[in-house]
Every structure is written in C-alpha cells, then in structure tokens.
Symmetry: C2
Subunit: 336 residues, 2 copies
C-alpha cells in the first residue's frame, strides 16, 4: 500500500501512537544520496530551528549505514528519499531502519521498486517526468522536498507543538502556483543565461538557509553530473571566509536570494559580487513571487521555488551547450 | 580569565552544575565561520553519533544569528571558534548567546580580542603560528578542533555517559605524536605534488565522516582563499550521486582515506578514481599512523591528522606556484 503527501498527517499520528508504549519518538533522520539528500535539506533546517527536544540529522545514506547514530532505533523515524527506489546505499539504510525497529518512511517516485519492502510507509511524490522537467503540470506541493518537510512539520506540531502550523499549510496551498508563475517569468532570461555561460568551465551556485539544499542539488546534479562542469555550492554566509577570494570579472556565479530570515546573508554576497565580479545570475525569491507566503514560514519554501526554476535554465544551457541533460559517462553505465 | 584544553572537563562540569536548576543542558551549538566552522565539524559528528538525548547543530555564524534555533537559550551551550576573536558575525553570535543565557564557550587564539567580553569561558587553543604553519612544535591535542570535540565528549560523558571515554583520552595522548610523524612522512611526496599540480586551475578535495571538515577547510581556506583555485569538497559517499561525472584523466583530486567506520566509502571513491582518473593525491590515515588509536574512537581523530598534514602540501604548492599563502585580494583589504 502506498500513500501521497495528503496522508502524511495521519501517518505521523499513527507513528506517534505506535511509539507511545516504547517511550515516544525521540529522533528523526533524513537520509538519501545526492539529489535525494539535497531534497531533504529543508526538513533538516526545520528540525534544527523549530524543534525543542527532538533530535535530528541529515546524512548521506552510506555514511549513515557505516556510522550509524547510537540512538537510532525504535524511538526514531527515518525518512528516506530514493527516486527510483533502487539506490543500493539507501536500500541498505532502509533495511537497517527496519531491523532496529525505527519507523521507516520512504519517499519514492516508483511504487514498484526494490526499496518498498523495507518501508513502513511508502509515499509516492509528485514529479515532473517530462523531458528536462519542462511540462510543469504537476502539483509542486506534493514533491519529495515538501513531503519530507511535511513529515517534520507534522512531527513537531503533533508532539511539541508548532505555532505557525496554519501559516505553513497556507504556504503549501500557494507554492505550486508561485512556482508555475516563476518558471514562466524566467523564460527569457534563461535563454540569455545559456548564451552567456555556455563556454564557462566553472559555475558556482550560492545560497543559504533551507534553500542551500537547492544550491547543492544544482551544483552536483546539474552542473557536475549532467553538464560535466566544475562547480561547488557556496553558502552565502561562508563566502566571506575563504571562497570569495576566487571572485573576479570572469568567474560565473548563480546566486539565490531567499525571501525570509537569511535574505541579508544572500544580499551581502550579491553586493560583493556586483562590485568585484561581473558574471552573476540572480534568482530572487521576492521577485519570483514568494513573498505572498507568510513571513513566519517562508524560509522553508525557498528551496522548492529555486529547485523548480532551475530546470528552465538547465534545459536552455544544455541545448546551447549541445550536451543533453540525460548524458552520462559513468552513472548507470559502469560498475562503481 | 582564560583556560586551555586541560580545563575543559571542569568547565563542562561547572556548566552542568549551573544549569541544573534550570532544567539542565539540552542542546549544544557549534558556530563559526569558514575555517573556524570547519574545525568544529568533528564535534558535530560526535554529537550526532554518540549522544542520545542532547540536541546539537553546526551552523555558520551569520545564519545562526539570523535564523536562531527556537530552543537556543539557558538550556544551551554554544561553542564558538574565532581565531583572532574579531570576526563580526561570530562576535554577534557570542553576544546573542550571552543575551539568551546560554553558556558561551569561546575558542580563540588571541586572549586580548573583541569577542572575549561575551564569553563565559575563553579557551586559548594551541596553534602553530610559524610561517605557513611549518614549525610543527606545538601540542596538536590542544588545537581548536580537539578543544571543541573535547567539550562534546565531556558533555556526553558527564550527562548521558560515554563508554569509550578512556579510549578517547588515550587517543588524545597519541594524536600529537602521530601528526608530527605524518608531517615528516609526506615531505617528499608533497614536493612532487606541488610540481605535478602547480598549473591546475581546479583541485577537488574529498573525504567523509568527521574528517569531511578537513576536506572542507582545505578546499575553501587554502585552494580557494589562499591560492585562488577553483575547488569544492566532495563527500566520498555523495561522489557517486552526481560529482563523479566530472572525473577524467586530467582532473585533480586530493582524497582523504579515513581510518575508522567510513573508510569503505573513501576506498570506494579511490577505486573509482584510480580506474577513470589519473591525477589523484591520496592521504591515507592508516599509512600515516592513525591506527594506533583505538578503533572505537579513531573516527574523530582523522580530521586533526589530515588538517595538520595539509600545511606541508600547502607550503610546497604555494612555493611552486609563486603564490604565497598570505596573499589576499579582498580579505581584510576591502569592505565587505
């Protein structure tokens, strides 16, 4: 049996009920690999900022399996993201969860995958499976990032309490429309971006807060994996403590400007880049319409916005570079 | 009044005693910027893996100040690293700690710095202040990384209990000698490395576990900041989920092979690099003598080993590239 994001409230309630006799839920782990790990980042930041007694961590699957937290067991929830359900490291982490008696929540896109036998709850997320994710006809509120975040929100709300719960639900209702508008909004500038940066050997991404996960995903999954470009995701708060020394008039940066509490960090980095750099692509959540979501919860929606605006850029860049996004030389092709 | 690493046991005991009436210590935050943040990484991994009820997080100073965890207050400890005590974002985080009634532990190298007024405990760490950190005549067990780690170890040991405490203390007694030997051991290969990689525009660092912090520091503080090279630190577990597609015979990688629980992740990445890449510098903790530290605690010492072997490489690379390590174009020179 599988579920969707609509069932998360009940799933969390059921887990809390089941764990009651065993001392309750004490920790939640977000585990995955690469883009699937990046997608769990907003949930990590939510737990770190909003929870008071619940423990949490965000760990790459193979590290989790080889260096498992001592408290991981029947008082834990593990949320795993695995797109096609066949990532060996993530399957092992799910298996470990099952073995130690944790509640295992699997976020996947394919119901008939290897991993589902280890899941107590299999949540099928929405995903734009069209070529280069261009169709844009899905409900973005049901994506893996927001499913994981919703697990975190429900867990805190149903145990410790979460004062901004209603505002968060409002945000969930708004995000899909905001994303769809934003994707149209960047269509022209995305073409210009592709022409400008098509010959760059290095492109950095930058971001902060929950949206750092989107910068990480764009850097490792698109620029490195799908375009074979050199890249790194730089936290805008860390930029001034090392990385900014690489800035010059030639270096390319894609910078996310959040709406919400860490906007000042992003703006500070942008001010510096505008002064000492020259080749900067700005994704500004405020300009892209995110401000209609309440300030108390908007932090957690930046990631989904940026992550879904990137495909427009990625498609144009790949086209201009004549390097189609599905091209791989190692992934799924050789043993590793 | 200031302290050294020798006082950490008593400092933690005093904090626990003082917090008793207020409900005890419930969370510990590791906060800093750039290299100072990287140095706190082993403490983060220790808390995530070894603690059972204590909450923790590892956050860049300005993000911590702008997006402060809800539970940060009189039941918290904040451990801040600030080399010269004058990093504005870290001073603000310390000030915030003081304001909310957290126990503020400052790790610094300069006693007479701006930050000390906000510290309940100022711990002066050992630091090799010789040019390019080549002298190697310090007690490495007293460095900031191990001071922060020791705070974490003492906190867990004195509250929840830490079964490997004695082994950890043994490790502390061994690490300085291991590092000194390892630095001599790499002297020749470091010269060869510098000649081989002096013209590379991009050098990646790779690592896992607690030592990922050392890979992060080498990437952002040395390659990017002090050599103006493009770089990123790639987690060896994440490598196969995106970044590995950039591998070819020309690309340069410095890879750390841990001793301990995540060694398998590092070895897997190395096997791949040896097959599809060609230009790989290997720092192997086993070969560098770390195995004399007990297996139950060795994970947490990899970072200090690698981080103190790098200066030998950094000096030779800077010399060969005729780009002295202290060269900056923005840091401390322009407003930002």
């Amino acid at each position: 049996m599988s579920y969707t994001s609509k069932d998360i409230k009940n799933i969390v309630a059921e887990i809390i009920e089941k764990k009651k006799d065993k001392g309750g839920v004490k920790s939640i782990y977000f585990v995955g690999c690469g883009g699937s790990l990046g997608a769990l980042y907003p949930a990590k930041t939510f737990m770190e900022k909003e929870a008071v007694s619940l423990r949490s961590a965000w760990v790459s699957s193979n590290e989790f399996v080889h260096s498992t937290p001592k408290d991981f067991g029947e008082n834990s929830i593990i949320v795993l993201a695995c797109h096609k359900g066949n990532t060996p490291e993530t399957i092992k982490a799910a298996e470990l969860g099952k073995k130690v008696g944790a509640a295992v929540i699997l976020l996947t896109w394919l119901e008939e995958s290897e991993i589902v036998e280890f899941g107590d709850y299999v949540i099928l997320y929405s995903f734009d499976a069209s070529p280069d994710h261009l169709a844009g006809d899905i409900d973005y509120a049901g994506e893996k990032t927001l499913c994981a975040l919703l697990v975190a929100v429900e867990l805190v709300a149903q145990t410790e309490g979460y004062a901004n719960y209603a505002k968060f639900q409002e945000g969930l209702g708004l995000i899909s429309g905001i994303i769809k508008n934003a994707r149209k909004h960047v269509a022209e500038r995305s073409l210009a971006f592709a022409k400008e940066y098509k010959d760059d050997p290095v492109i950095y991404t930058m971001g902060s807060g929950a949206a750092y996960g989107a910068a990480y995903m764009e850097s490792i999954c698109i620029f490195m994996e799908m375009q074979w470009l050199n890249s790194s995701s730089i936290h805008t708060g860390e930029f001034f403590h090392g990385p900014f020394e690489i800035t010059d008039k030639n270096r390319a940066f894609v910078i996310q400007i959040n709406e919400g509490s860490t906007r000042e960090l992003d703006e500070r980095a942008l001010t510096f880049l505008r002064k000492y750099g020259q080749r900067i692509e700005v994704l500004d959540a405020k300009e892209l319409g995110l401000s209609t979501i309440d300030a108390s919860v908007v932090d957690y929606f930046n990631h989904s916005l940026f992550n879904n605006v990137y495909p427009i850029y990625n498609h144009d860049l790949a086209t201009e570079r004549q390097h189609p996004l599905p091209t791989r030389r190692y992934m799924w092709k050789v043993e590793y």
